[in-house]
Symmetry: D3
Subunit: 125 residues, 6 copies
């Protein structure tokens, strides 16, 4: 059942999700037999593993888009941790979130800042 | 009427808007006496000019957020041109837009890709 | 105070909300004297009771739209239960939610999948 | 370069896009070498071709989600045509759009109704 | 077919839509036999005609919400004209739109400002 | 570090946030050294303090926009309290929220109504 695409995607997924990978995959499996496959294969195997843009840049644009969407705080927290995992600093991530006030408005920026802060505090422990 | 903040913001604005700066500012002035001031001072003077993140990174997260918002194609086109102006390539910008299919869905990605393509074609002339 | 439109709407509302109907109506009444009337009359009395489309189809498009909106998880949970009440299976509802990854993006799909799972687990007890 | 997944996806894509398939694929190819692949493989090859829900139901929930998103009128028009192609009637599609006033608001419903009307008028010729 | 609710709604609708009322109603009728009824009865007959808030205040909050939604420029233009019709000035409406930069972001504000400007220019002729 | 703009903004901020001002500012300071500055200076110092529209009107359009955005319930609650602080009644605020069902849909209206109700109940104590 593990396709080549899944394996390729999982390798990228692990760089971003880090140590939480097994529990996230397990959480997907408990809900739907194909959810892990769907999340790993297309986003990570097909898109994030594409050449032409480094993973670090890909991760910060993901963070920016999740702030702008405004209704994806759970995913934002996971990807803020992912941004730390691929080399962005807390200060840089906060700059990106702050900048989003311009494009997505202050409420989206503030909700994102508070959500991200939970990740940074967890990270410091 | 030109504040220090406006001058600081305009310097950044010009790096992104390039040769179109005077006509954009003029367009704002025709609509509202304080619109140019409002657009230049806070977004560019206060936020984009902050240290802690280089302008090139700031510009690509702006592009990503505009794709994710989905209803800002006019601004997206201006900022795709801005991304070219600060050193991103057409191929890299298209990677960012393509990646947004994952987070914002295929319709938002496709609308952004078609809008950006207009900019790239204009740019080649 | 009970209009003909309210009675007509309530009959549809009960098919979707099932046994939870009295508590939902009561919850509306505690907040605003016209809230139950507003929610029952137009959406259910005027729109969902229209001929031309069966209630089962109407309910699944409601579920899809709530996934796409992305900021209506409480309503999504109520309407996932409603979808079960009018004859959709858990597996079919999950197919609809999974499909929304294409149009609304993965974060909206995942948040909806987790919210729906709470309903399915409650339903099994 | 044509994968099994692409072939599987294209078969579904053709049921929905009908006679417009070659021009849509060509339009994608003109913009990005991998755009057709990305649009056909995951949405159509992976998701819409899944068993567990018939294509007719899948198409109407797509229409509903595009109305709810509110910023995908071009895709909505393509998928309203797709809904006609897989067996929905104009009257049924209009019921779905009208119903969206409840969940996504009247502006989203009205914009969708006007966009869909263009498709129905084209279709009658 | 003209209900009491429709008549009540139409009286409010005319205060907002002014001289354009017959053509707007006609446009609705050309698309769907119940569209005018649906738009006039619930929004205008049920909601905007409620006591407890004057029509002038109701109209400016409508304008603000349409700016915030960001994908309803056609409705925004109609309601900017409506705001003029019920006594708001061009300068006041522009203040509301400008303020929306804070909550909905600069792109939503700018798109709204340009759309509203078309109305103001038309109005001056 | 306290600029003239900050002082001007804080005076408006205090009219809206009332007694909660010090704790809100403190919460911002704990997350980012410039967050209070950013929130107070542009939204309050630059925009809400502009002449041409009274603060009471400005506050109700803010409430409407937050209902329409649909993903800013925390900010909505703060600004519902702010609306009470500048002279709107509970009944008037509920009228505005109810009206938003028309433009933003019933889920956005209902989520806002429940969030606002928490503020009104707190206020009565």
């Amino acid at each position: 059942m593990t396709t080549e695409l899944y394996a390729k995607g999982l390798a990228i997924f692990e760089k971003i999700a880090g140590a939480t990978t097994p529990e996230v995959i397990e959480k997907f499996n408990q809900i739907h037999p194909d959810l892990a496959k769907t999340v790993v294969e297309f986003p990570y195997g097909d898109i994030l593993s594409r050449p032409g843009l480094d993973l670090k840049t890909r991760q910060i644009v993901t963070v920016a888009s999740l702030v702008a969407l405004g209704n994806a705080l759970s995913q934002l927290k996971a990807h803020v941790q992912g941004a730390l995992n691929v080399g962005w600093t807390e200060a840089e991530i906060k700059e990106v979130i702050l900048q989003m006030a311009v494009y997505a408005g202050f409420p989206a920026m503030l909700n994102a800042m508070f959500a991200a802060q939970e990740v940074f505090e967890q990270h410091k422990k």
